[in-house]
């Protein structure tokens, strides 16, 4: 079978030639600018030699935002993980068919809504006179005078959670659908509550999928410029906004790239944990 399909496919040289344009594209539009950013972070701003002045300046100016970015992205990731497991868990273990069907229809909506549109939706929804406060005051849950704008760090977290939870829930629900049902049934026979079944029997079996989904979301949240720019661009804000500001207002590529290197490192740490974990799993 494989022998036959090889005979119809291109040979080694042909295959390399066919892939070459795609590789050139990645080289020109990703590898080259990536290397450029590293060199720029260590050399820019007049002096021809290698130095770390850009990093000291970046830490001096933006240490608050560096911390702020880590806190926002970590908090969002944790909330997304909990909500995604809850939604996928209910889809897998829920006994009321109507509720499961409604949830299945409901939870996916934000999945394909672009980030920039999500940011605009939340900009109106979470504002001081936005729909959320209007409903809360109309229903008497909060006093009209107590209404406050959520367009600060909370708004960024809410937007990230709103947009990314369906993605992780979709992946996790898919993984949960394909696990061995016998362990779940065994748990049921022994009278374990559904929450216990979910946490002790189901989640360990889908942990890898959950982790992949959360890591992808984490990287996406570190990359998105539109959400922090539109929800809360005042200090303290996220590093993506600082990078754009550094370039548009000062043309200061050195410090902007130093901040960029830090954001590479944030994803690098997570990727390293992931690789270590998956190596451990394979070794065990």
């Amino acid at each position: 079978m494989s022998g036959q399909s090889m005979s119809v496919g291109p040979g080694r040289m042909g295959a390399i030639l066919l892939v070459a344009p795609a590789l050139l594209m990645i080289g020109f539009l990703f590898v080259y600018p990536f290397g450029y950013s590293v060199v720029s972070a260590f050399t820019d701003n007049g002096e021809g030699s290698w130095h770390i002045a850009n990093f000291t300046k970046a830490v001096e100016f933006y240490s608050k935002d560096i911390l702020f970015t880590i806190v926002i992205v970590s908090l969002s990731t944790v909330i997304i993980g909990i909500l995604a497991v809850a939604i996928a868990g209910y889809l897998t273990l829920g006994e009321n068919k109507t509720a499961v069907a409604i949830l299945k229809w409901l939870y996916r909506w934000p999945l394909f809504i672009p980030f920039i549109v999500s940011a605009q939706l939340m900009r109106t929804f979470l504002a001081k006179n936005g729909m959320m406060n209007n409903i809360l005051t109309s229903s008497g849950i909060i006093e009209p005078l107590a209404a406050q704008s959520y367009l600060d760090w909370r708004g960024i977290v809410i937007t990230f959670v709103w947009k990314q939870t369906p993605f992780v829930a979709l992946l996790v629900a898919g993984a949960m659908a394909s696990i061995d049902r016998t362990t779940i049934d065994a748990g049921r026979i022994f009278g374990a509550s559904r929450l216990r079944i979910l946490i002790e029997l189901v989640v360990p079996q889908i942990a890898t999928t959950l982790m992949v989904g959360l890591i992808l979301s984490y990287v996406v949240m570190l990359s998105v410029l539109s959400v922090p720019l539109m929800i809360n661009a005042q200090s303290p804000t996220m590093l993506t906004v600082d990078m754009a500001w550094r370039i548009n207002s000062y043309g200061d590529y050195g410090v902007a790239n130093a901040l960029g290197i830090m954001s590479y490192l944030f994803t690098g740490v997570v990727a390293w944990f992931y690789l270590r974990q998956s190596l451990k799993d394979k070794g065990a």
Binding site: L18, S37, L103, P110, I116, V117, M243, Y253, G260
Partner: protein
């Protein structure tokens, strides 16, 4: 005893309804708020609902020279060009990765994932700087290239999966009956892989339609796509125009959600990334 189960059932039912309503509000609340803004003529604090409804903003932005019409056309034009560029690169690459004797195949597949694995802002601002030296900033071609690099991983991975799902024996049969390599590819392989290729085209089209960061660094202020119009009007406080642009961007996205399963069949989906 019966009473106790009845009341506990009732409590369960109420919790279920409450949770679902809360979730529905959390998901549709922001969307409703946007829809209201899209048809609001006059709306200011402290009024909870618009004071006047109407379509005068729609009329204003959809005039032939209205800014939304222009942004919509430039978005669609850029997205179509991005699809052409991506497919021209991804179809040969996907075919080679699925069928060819490719050295380091796994590493090459991973390489296409790299642009997604690093924060895009940090890379895009340097792309803009490189493009500046090549006179590509502020041009449609520059924006198309950035969008294509964002979509390339999906284009290549889905195209590879689509070609891998084509039954190799059909190609072998065509070859045995004397068809040349090129003829076999055009008449047998490509038509069979077409639904998957279409899915990757739709993916790339949507990525381009929704792309913001790259356009912000490379295209602004000369190239105004719909997301750029949304952004500038929102920052100027013109929520009607921002909401109308949001609504236009939502249409292809939601349509995609409803129709993707027709194009992306399970046999192709199972091979994505493998």
């Amino acid at each position: 005893m019966v009473q106790a189960t009845l009341s506990s059932n009732w409590v369960r039912m109420t919790t279920r309804v409450l949770t679902m309503s809360l979730l529905a509000f959390a998901i549709f609340g922001p969307i409703t708020n946007m829809l209201l803004w899209a048809v609001a003529e006059v709306w200011y604090f402290p009024y909870k609902l618009p004071l006047e409804y109407g379509f005068s903003f729609w009329e204003r932005v959809f005039r032939p020279e209205g800014n939304a019409t222009e942004a919509l056309f430039s978005s669609i034009w850029i997205a179509l060009l991005t699809v052409v560029v991506s497919l021209a690169i991804a179809i040969p690459a996907g075919y080679a990765l699925a069928r060819g004797k490719m050295p380091f195949r796994y590493l090459i597949m991973l390489l296409f994932l790299l642009p997604q694995a690093f924060p895009a802002v940090a890379v895009h601002m340097n792309v803009a700087r490189i493009f500046y030296g090549l006179d590509l900033t502020g041009t449609v071609m520059g924006v198309v290239l950035v969008h294509a690099s964002q979509g390339l991983v999906f284009a290549v991975w889905i195209a590879t999966a689509a070609f891998a799902a084509v039954d190799g024996e059909l190609e072998a049969a065509a070859r045995n009956m004397g068809a040349g390599r090129w003829r076999t590819f055009i008449d047998v392989t490509l038509p069979l892989a077409l639904p998957g290729i279409m899915a990757s085209a739709i993916f790339v089209f949507l990525i381009s339609m929704d792309e913001f960061t790259g356009t912000y660094f490379v295209g602004a202020p000369d190239v105004v796509t719909l997301p750029m119009l949304l952004f500038t009007s929102s920052m100027e406080g013109n929520y009607q125009i921002a909401s109308i642009s949001s609504l236009i961007l939502l249409v292809p996205s939601v349509g995609f959600m409803l129709f993707i399963e027709r194009f992306l069949k399970a046999d192709v989906l199972a091979k994505v990334g493998s």
